[in-house]
Symmetry: C2
Subunit: 387 residues, 2 copies
C-alpha cells in the first residue's frame, strides 16, 4: 500500500428532516449568504425549509449558479460577499452550487492584488484562507459535499479547470435523500454514472494491495448496480435514494483513494467535451470511460480482472474476454441509467475531435492517467473509438 495523508473534517448530517439542524451548525451571529442554482429549490420545498431553519439568522441570497459554474457568475457572488461583509456561506444545491461556493469562499479572501482565476491556474495551491461554509445537498453525484475539490469554468475561454485545498472542506454537509425525490430522472441517471466513474478513476488503475479501499470501491459499485436501476423505476423509494446519496459521498470523500493510484484521465477529456460542446458531465464520462478502459486494458489488466470478478462475477474463461465483457456490461449499465455512451449519440463526429485535442494540448493535458502515458495520440485513439 502506498503512503497517504487522509483528512476529512466535514460533519455529515444525513437523513430525513436534517435541514432543520442548520440552526445548530451555523453560528448564530453569522452573516450568511445562501447560494443556489436555477431555482428548483423553490419548487421542491428545500428553499422554504432552509429559510425556516435560519429564520433568526441574518441571511442573504445569491441564485443563478449554473451547471458547470462559471467564474464570471461566481465573481458576482464574490462582490456581494465583500460588499455585505458576509462571513459564512451556505450552498444549497448539487455539485455545481457546492463547487461554486468553494470558489467564492476562497476568492472572497484571496490576495487583493491578484485575479482569483489564479486559484484555478495554480490548482488551489495558492489559497491561504477561505470563508467557512456548509452545504445542503439536493443532487447526489459529484461528491463535492464532502471533499475539498471544485471544478470551475471560464465562460469567456471555455476553460474548465479544477482546484483543491483543505481550506475549502465544507464545515458540514446536510444530506436529506428526500430532497432528491423531485429530480428529473435524467439527473438521477447522470448522478449514478458520475459516482460510478469517480470510483473507477481511483480503483481501475495499478494494483497497490490496498485491500480495504478496494473492497470499499467494489462495495460502492455494487450498490450503484443494485440501486441505480431502482432509482429510475421506484423514484420514491427512500432507502434507494439514501444509498445513492451516501454512495456518491463515499466515492469521493478520500477514503477510496487513500493509498491507491489514481487515474482521472477520463475526467480530463470529459471536461473538454463539456466545455466545448455542452454535454452533461456524466455524459462525457459515459462516452470516454469504456474506450479508455479498452485502450488501456494492458496497463489496467490486473485490476480489470478483479473488477470483472468482484463486480460482475466473471470468474472463469479467457481473461481478455472477461475484461471485454466487464467493459461491455459497464456500457450497458450506463445506457440503462439513461446515459448514452457514444459521441454520435450527442451529435458529435470525427470533425469535432480536433478541437478537443487542441483544448487538451492548451490545458497541458498531454500525459494523463495513472501511468502518465495517455498522450494526445492516445486521447485521439480513445475519442475515435468512442464515436
Amino acid at each position: 500500500m502506498n503512503n497517504f495523508d487522509y483528512y476529512n473534517p466535514t460533519q455529515v448530517l444525513f437523513g430525513k428532516g436534517q435541514i432543520a439542524a442548520l440552526s445548530k451548525v451555523i453560528p448564530r451571529q453569522a452573516k450568511v449568504l445562501m447560494l443556489y442554482g436555477g431555482g428548483s429549490i423553490k419548487k421542491n420545498g428545500v428553499y422554504d425549509q432552509v429559510k425556516t431553519a435560519l429564520s433568526d439568522i441574518s441571511l442573504l441570497e445569491f441564485g443563478g449558479i449554473e451547471a458547470n459554474p462559471t467564474y464570471e457568475t461566481l465573481m458576482q457572488a464574490v462582490a456581494l460577499v465583500k460588499a455585505e461583509k458576509v462571513d459564512f456561506l451556505l450552498a444549497v444545491g448539487g455539485g455545481s452550487v457546492i463547487d461554486g461556493t468553494k470558489f467564492v469562499a476562497a476568492a472572497a479572501v484571496f490576495d487583493e492584488g491578484q485575479d482569483p482565476w489564479q486559484i484555478l491556474e495554480k490548482w488551489g495551491g495558492n489559497i491561504q484562507a477561505a470563508l467557512p461554509f456548509g452545504c445542503v445537498l439536493t443532487l447526489s453525484a459529484t461528491g463535492s459535499e464532502t471533499n475539498a475539490a471544485a471544478v470551475i469554468t471560464r465562460a469567456e475561454t471555455k476553460a474548465k479547470r479544477s482546484f483543491m485545498n483543505r481550506l475549502v472542506f465544507p464545515k458540514f454537509a446536510i444530506l436529506d435523500p428526500t430532497t432528491s425525490f423531485s429530480l428529473p430522472l435524467r439527473q438521477v441517471g447522470n448522478g449514478v454514472v458520475d459516482t460510478f466513474v469517480h470510483v473507477v478513476e481511483q480503483y481501475l488503475t495499478l494494483p497497490t494491495q490496498a485491500k480495504v479501499q478496494e473492497r470499499l470501491a467494489e462495495g460502492v459499485l455494487l450498490t450503484l448496480l443494485e440501486e441505480g436501476p431502482r432509482a429510475l423505476s421506484e423514484p420514491d423509494d427512500y432507502d434507494v435514494r439514501a444509498n445513492l446519496m451516501w454512495a456518491a459521498s463515499c466515492a469521493l470523500n478520500g477514503q477510496i483513494g487513500a493509498g491507491m493510484v489514481q487515474d482521472w484521465a477520463t475526467h480530463m477529456i470529459g471536461h473538454e467535451l463539456t466545455a466545448l460542446y455542452g454535454l452533461d458531465h456524466a455524459q462525457t464520462l459515459a462516452v470516454v470511460l469504456p474506450s479508455m478502459l479498452r485502450v488501456r486494458a494492458k496497463q489496467k489488466r490486473e485490476m480489470l480482472l478483479q473488477y470483472a470478478s468482484r463486480v460482475w462475477q466473471l470468474e472463469s474463461g479467457d481473461e481478455d474476454e472477461r475484461i471485454e465483457l466487464a467493459i461491455t456490461k459497464t456500457e450497458v449499465f450506463f445506457e440503462n441509467m439513461g446515459v448514452k455512451t457514444h459521441l454520435g449519440d450527442y451529435g458529435l463526429n470525427e470533425q469535432h475531435m480536433g478541437a478537443v485535442l487542441q483544448a487538451l494540448e492548451e490545458h497541458k493535458m498531454t500525459a494523463l492517467g495513472e501511468t502518465r502515458d495517455v498522450t494526445l495520440a492516445i486521447s485521439r485513439q480513445i475519442l475515435e473509438m468512442a464515436l
Copy 2:
C-alpha cells in the same frame, strides 16, 4: 437507512517513515507531553524516531500506562500536565495508551470542583473542553487512533468504563505499519480478533438497508480473513501489516456504524471478564461473541445469513445450518489467530460467572444489545454456553 451524524476530523498520516512528519503536525511552540506504555517503544526504535522528529520542541514524558489503562495511573499524568503547564499531548503506543491520553486530555481541563472519574460516570457527556493531542500508533486493534472514544479502568473498584466525546478526537494519527513488525504474535492475533468483533458489533444486528456501510463492513472482515493468518506466518510483510492497521482504523472510525444499528453487548460482557479476571480484551471477545451470535440468532437472522453468504460464501442449503456454520467458522478463525474461544481455556468455570453477572448488574448492563433484550438471564445463558 437510519439518520446519522458522522464526523471524523482526525488527520491520518499513513505509511513508512511518517513519524518524521510529527514536526509538521505539532505546533512548534507547544509544550508537549509524550505518553507511552511499558517501554516497548524504546526497544523497537519508535521512541528514538519520535525524539528525533521533535528535537526542537519542548517535550516531557510520562511512561508506564498499562494495558487497560487505569484512572489511578492516568491521574498522575494529569497532575504532571497541570504542574508543567503542558498544552499538547502525544500518545505513542496502542489503544490503551491512546485511550488513556484521551482521558488525560479531558481530565486536565475538567471542572476543578469535580473528580474526573465523573467523565466515566457520564459517558463523556460532561466534557466541556480537552487539550489537543495526537498519536503515533504501534499496535493496531482498537481503532482508538481515529475515534473519540476510550475505555478506562478504575483499579480500586475493578470498574471498566467507557466515554465518548467529539472533543477527544486525535488531531492526527500517525500509522506506520513497520512499527508493528516487532509485536509478539499474541498481540497481532488479538488485534485481528478485536478488529473483527468491532465490525461485527455494528454489522450483525438489524437490517437497515445501509448498503455501502454493509459492504465496507464485509470488506474489512474479508481483509482480516485474508491478511490475519499471513500476519502470523509472514510477520515482516509490509502490505499485510498495512492492511491490518488500516482495517482496524476503518472498523471503528464511524463509517461502518453510520446509519446502522449497533450492538456492543459482547464488549460490555467482555469488559467485566477483563476487569475481574484479567483476560486480554480480544480474548473476552473471542469467548463471548460466538455464544452471543448463537443465543441471539433469531434477532440477527437476516444479517447472519448475509454474513454467511458474503463473508463465508455459504449461499445454499438449510438456513439454520448456514448460520451455525458461519459462527463455527468464525470461532475457528479466532482460534487460528491464536485466541482461544472458551472460558475454560482461561481457567474459568461456572463458579466465576456469578461475579460477572453481579458486575453487569452493578454497572446497569441489564438491557444490552441492539434490541436491548440481553437481560442478565440472557447474559448468563451466553456465558454458560461459552464455558
